[in-house]
Amino acid sequence: MSTRFDARRILRAIAAPVLAVVVAVVVTSLILAAANDPVGQVWSVILSPPKPRVVAAIINAATVYYLSAVAVAIGFKMNLFNIGVDGQYRIAAFFAALVAGQGWLPGPLNVLLGLAVAVLTGGIWAAVAGILKVWRGVSEVISTIMLNAIATFLVALLLRKAALEPGGSNIVQTKPIPESSRVPGFPLIPGSSREIYGLVILAILVGIAYWFVLNKTRFGFDLRATGASETAAVASGVNVGRMVAVSMIISGGVAGLVGMPLLFGQDYSYGSTFQPGLGFAGIAIALLGRNHPVGIAFAALLWSFLDQQSNALQIQAGVSDKLVLVIQGVIVLSVVIAYEIVRRANVRLEQRRVAARLAAEAGTPLQGARA
């Protein structure tokens, strides 16, 4: 019985994303056909096996997406919608770059200091939204959106004050991190000179910690309980206000880590070309991965795979790079719809099973009593 139940659960978990991807493929094909673009060629380009150096780029981009999506997922589990990951990671990356750039501590210690500054900054920035929600009942959706805008302008202002501005250059950036504190990459992909970010390990650790805290600790149980039913959680003695503030801060702390693989493994400073928009991608990826630590990993890989194929689409298939945005958007919408369809189908199946059992019990009361 229990193995059958597990099989059904796995099937249910896989059915929705697969359905979503199939719907996305069909919808995108229809759009392509309507626009008179070469449908077959587009899919053959997208599905062609990526070159080793592209594989490395996909894994690197997915590493960053993964951290962002986990930050969002922590909020989701609590029924909190942290749209502010975008602002949190940018302000955290800025301060981490600023502090690590000074090179106060030698080598790896400086990296740890940078990570600590990032977690702290992200946490504090998110705490503003958490505290506003607990004390004043301000929706975190509104406050985090506002905080994103404030973060943008604050960083722009501080960057102008703190930045090196070499004459005639268009790139404004903080002081580069000293060579000794740069995290070397792993040459994991044979045939590619591009290395995997050393901080991919950080993403894996965050994923494991996320799974452990959520499923194996009292805190994780309280968090899931509050997310599932606030009234039930209150009744069983959970301090909901405290849970909201703490989970918002943790979500922000993880958001602070989002920019770290980029900072210590690629850019070595925070500046005008630091990658924007990671927080919003994280929302979509958390949805796609159903807030599950492994699901999110697959979703992040799919997302960055599609990102990387946009160049090939333009150069080899001659279609607009915007097509990838369309595919990603359609996938997110299909995912939500597919989950709802699968959920309803499950409810209906469950009801039918229960009804059948009840009917059987009503017919033969003795058997029912034994069951």
Binding site: F81, A156, L262, T273, G318, S320, V324, V332
Partner: protein
């Protein structure tokens, strides 16, 4: 949980939708079948790969100006070209990958349009020594196979600033920059200097659409429109934009308010949507096309030289446009300023 997920889905989809909409007002022909241009008969054609900034071909502004240079080279020099455009929020590796894929596809002369490509060009050019690169708007990447194409945007902006000051009836004009970078500051500084030269008491509103690292200010028609509407309501009657694709929104706002706008990079009275062309007083033309064509022809005849090449007013790299005849009455005065800048009598600040 389910409720939050649904809200999240809607917002996520909306965010993605907006990202796509940001540039959907422009015909997104970024990379249609341009690569199939028949080569000049005989020897193998020169292969040129164009890596555009956010907005791509069809932004009616900066990228289109670069595209014009390629199109001219296709027609006159028989080169084979291929387009590829950046998307907003892409990782650094995507820019490198774009250059690399163009090279892999056989395009061994690369034009990187926009300073955001500097780190990518630096990296790829070091590894691909046989490929020649032109980097527009930046000197941040240099090497024996890199030409840096730069422009004196402050000088051109000075002239349209003077034009605005001569034409304003409310003594109040505006400037909208796409993203607050040192490069776009150069437009603002020149514009203000030109306007103040004519009328030191002029009121000038300045607004930037986004702050780095958010570069969507170059491709958000909605943001350009909202900012320009605000300025016109405050009493400005001429607004100059240096905001790439967002400029389309500035023109829409000018049309709705019955006021003037000044275009940038291309002669926008010729390239903007037909419905809004009549509100474009003049355009600060940045001849990216000349820079691009110059690079391609130098490779073609073997005179390629690495390093910075400045296209200023004297070299014809920047200018003001007269399409529509709206500045015919003040053209004499503007030409005087132009001569004074070329002769060095007027020194236009750049920062």
């Amino acid at each position: 949980m389910r409720h939050a997920t649904q809200v999240a889905a809607i917002v996520a989809a909306a965010a993605l939708g907006l990202a796509a909409c940001g540039s959907s007002d422009t015909p997104s022909s970024g990379g249609t079948a341009d690569g199939t241009q028949p080569a000049a008969a005989g020897d193998k054609p020169l292969m040129v790969g164009m890596a555009y900034d956010v907005g791509g071909r069809g932004d009616q502004s900066f990228n289109d100006a670069a595209a014009k240079g390629l199109d001219k080279a296709k027609a006159e020099l028989g080169v084979k070209g291929q387009d590829a455009a950046a998307t907003n929020g892409e990782p650094e590796s995507a820019r490198e990958e774009r250059l690399q894929q163009l090279i892999d596809a056989g395009y061994d002369n690369i034009v990187a349009v926009g300073f955001a490509y500097a780190p990518a060009v630096k990296k790829v050019a070091a590894a691909e020594k046989d490929v020649k690169f032109a980097l527009v708007d930046s000197t941040d990447a240099q090497g024996p196979n890199i030409e840096n194409i730069t422009f004196a945007e402050n000088e051109g902006s000075f002239l349209v600033g003077a034009a605005a000051a001569l034409k304003t009836k409310t003594n109040h004009i505006g400037f909208i920059g796409g993203v607050e970078t040192p490069l776009i500051k150069k437009f603002e500084v020149g514009y203000i200097a030109g306007a103040k030269k004519v009328d030191p008491d002029l009121k000038i509103d300045v607004k930037y659409l986004t702050q780095p690292p958010d570069f969507s200010g170059f491709s958000s028609v909605d943001k350009g429109k909202a900012a320009a509407e605000g300025m016109y309501q405050q009493g400005a009657d001429i607004v100059y934009h240096a905001a790439g694709g967002s400029g389309g929104g500035v023109f829409q706002a000018a049309k709705a308010a019955g006021k003037w706008a000044i275009g940038v990079d291309s002669d926008q009275a010729l390239t903007a949507d037909a419905a809004v062309r009549d509100v474009i007083l003049t355009s600060m033309i940045k001849r990216v096309d000349i820079g691009v064509f110059d690079f391609i022809s130098s490779v073609k005849d073997g005179t390629f030289t690495p390093g910075e090449k400045v296209f200023d007013l004297k070299a014809g790299g920047v200018d003001f446009s007269t399409t529509g005849g709206h500045v015919d009455d003040i053209k004499g005065k503007l030409d005087d300023f132009k001569q004074q800048i070329i002769s060095g009598e007027i020194k236009v600040p750049s920062a």
